[in-house]
Amino acid sequence: MSIIKLTGINKIYRTNEMETQALENVNLEVKKGEFLSIMGPSGCGKSTLLNIIGLLDKATSGTIELCGTEAMTLKDKELAEFRNQRLGFIFQSFHLVNSLNVIDNVELPLLYRNVSAGERTRLAKEVLERVGLSHRMRHMPMQLSGGQCQRVAIARALIGNPDIILADEPTGNLDSKMGAEVMDLLRQLNREDGRTIVMVTHNEEQARTTSRTIRFFDGRQVE
């Protein structure tokens, strides 16, 4: 059963002077529990595709079906709810809120779900335990290493118990050891929880450890 289904996706960036086709007629299906990696050279549209799947960007044309929902027709509030409950994001540059400590960063998605403070803290502690950062709960992001920041971002993506995790070069800013640790964590989430993961990566070795790899070149899926 497909949890992600893209049909005829096109994305064109328009400026006054020119048009750039970032994605061209992309058709993609991802099954529930699959760990898909997207590869390709810089500027080929990998991140754009991930953003469109994650409803962070709008496709110029085509349809997106996520968890059985036609996503293109959702209104702002429904979109927000969908992102909050069904999707978890992991970014290359972590995107943690520097003015909040680790546990508060992790709790954020639940804040928008109106979960009580006690419950938020309990769940945040649970996921931080899982990513091995329970001893850093009161630290500020600036006091953590890159790998630890990415673990916090993973914990934040996990706390809402999403169906799909979207990771945009999650190890791009990490050294190989930390990168390996993060990959281990993602594989574990896929294997043990059966979570669907779509990951953009430049790393062939990491891509080989996923269940399927697709490749892009100049906005087109080539493999």
Binding site: L56, D76, K77, N84, F91, V97, R156
Partner: protein, 436 residues
């Protein structure tokens, strides 16, 4: 949500410190410029205590030829009285006139003279108040101060009616503030009030008066709060000097005041030109107040204050909206992140607005000791005659001004936040997240 915002503000205290400093300066600056405006506006909004429409006053002077005769002391008084009464009756008998009254020269709205006195009540001699003392000269069956001035009963708001006198002494009417200060109540008809101090029984029958009416506040200027005041109704003229006497009159509805004034000047004034009661000028109550306000520099003062306030508000508006605008734009990436993890546009707007409100509230609260220090150190420019109005209390005025500037600051901060946040939260999260 509020707890989370508070944590965020606290964790960014160094950056927010500058904003708070700006807000403290703004709160203090706004307070110092608007406190007087608040007080002045409230004073202005209080009822005048008289009706200026159709009410006029005639100022007198000694006619040029009379000056040679004034050394004749014996005849001077009777000449003055007879001429004065004749002029009064001449005005009163004109069909256009509804009522006339004669008052001392400090006892009409906008008079440049002022007289205040100490008063004690008959049974609570220990309480002594200071109040404006006005004088009206009653010519039985001729003058009607209540009608000319349009004084209102403090309790009913209806035109004031005099109660029947019970004592063999002069009568007086007092303002509600006078009654409250001296007796603690406004139901004081029939009470005895002593001028200056209470003298032994029978020593001076004119040293006290009986209250026969309580009127609403009476303003000397329409820009000032009414002082505690009293009108003593006396049959005797105060002195024999022309400059101490003013004739006031109210015209019937629909009469052209300007034309009537011209008629008096052409038809009546020449007959009195060489008497001790020659007509110097005729002013409407509005003109009298206008003159008084100009003389005191009230218009210039308020114009200056209004210009100052306008510039302060402009600076505050530009400064605050700029700060909050920049603050929001600088957090575009954070807004993108918030949207990516499930915040709707409305949630983000609400969060930023709450944050702006909290910042303003904190800055405003920190500024309070400064404001309190300022207001207590201020030389209070009020005479104690008007100190019975709440806006003259430093505490109440501080609270009222504080409320006003707080609302202003919150509104400006919300406005400065709403536009950029609304704009930023409309951006696609993917674009916002790319923002560096």
């Amino acid at each position: 949500m509020i707890k989370m915002i508070f944590k965020q503000l606290w964790n960014q205290r160094r950056q927010n410190g500058w904003i708070l400093l700006e807000l403290i300066v703004i709160a203090f600056f706004l307070f110092t410029t608007s406190a007087e405006v608040v007080r002045g506006s409230i004073d202005y909004m209080l009822p005048d205590g008289y009706e200026t429409e159709n009410a006029y006053l005639i100022k007198l002077k000694e006619g040029s030829k009379f000056r040679y005769a004034r050394r004749e002391r014996e005849i001077r008084d009777s000449i003055f009285q007879s001429n004065f009464n004749l002029l009064l009756l001449t005005i009163k008998n004109r069909p256009e006139v509804e009522a006339v009254a004669t008052v001392r020269d400090d006892s009409y709205p906008g008079s440049g003279s002022h007289n205040s006195n100490g008063f004690v009540s008959d049974d609570t001699a220990s309480i002594r108040i200071k109040a404006s003392l006005y004088m009206t000269f009653i010519k039985e069956g001729t003058t009607d101060l209540l009608k000319v001035y349009g004084l209102k009963d403090a309790r009913t708001g209806e035109p004031l009616q005099l109660a029947e006198a019970k004592l063999a002494c002069p009568q007086g009417i007092v303002s509600a503030a006078f009654a409250r200060q001296l007796f603690g109540r406004t139901d004081v008809i029939g009470e005895k009030v002593h001028l200056g101090k209470k003298l032994p029984e029978g020593s001076n029958a004119n040293n006290y008066f009986e209250i026969v009416g309580v009127y609403e506040g009476y303003k000397r200027s329409n820009f000032q709060a009414p002082s505690a005041s009293t009108f003593i109704l006396t049959p005797n003229s105060y002195g024999r000097n022309t400059s101490n006497h003013v004739i006031t009159y109210r015209l019937k509805k629909g009469v052209d005041g300007k034309a009537f004034r011209e008629r008096i000047m052409s038809e009546i004034a020449p007959d009195f030109e060489n008497t001790p009661t020659a007509i110097k000028e005729i002013l409407s109550f509005e003109e009298s107040l206008e003159w008084f306000n100009s003389m005191l520099g009230i218009y210039i003062h308020y114009r200056y204050t209004a210009v100052m306030l306008f510039f302060v508000l402009l600076c505050v508006f530009l400064g605050m909206t700029g700060t909050f605008w920049v603050r929001c734009r600088a957090r575009r990436q954070e807004i993108g992140l918030m949207r990516s993890i499930g915040a709707s546009q409305a949630t983000i707007t609400r969060q930023f607005m709450t944050e702006a409100w909290m910042l303003v509230t904190i800055g405003f609260l920190i500024a309070q000791p400064l404001i309190i220090h300022y207001i207590h150190g201020l030389e209070w420019n009020v005479i104690d005659l008007t100190a019975h109005y709440w806006q003259d209390s430093k505490t109440w005025l501080t609270l009222a001004t504080d409320a006003l500037i707080y609302i202003l600051m919150v509104l400006i901060a919300l406005l400065g936040t709403w536009f950029p946040v609304k704009q930023a939260s409309k951006d696609l999260p993917a674009e916002a997240l790319r923002d560096e």
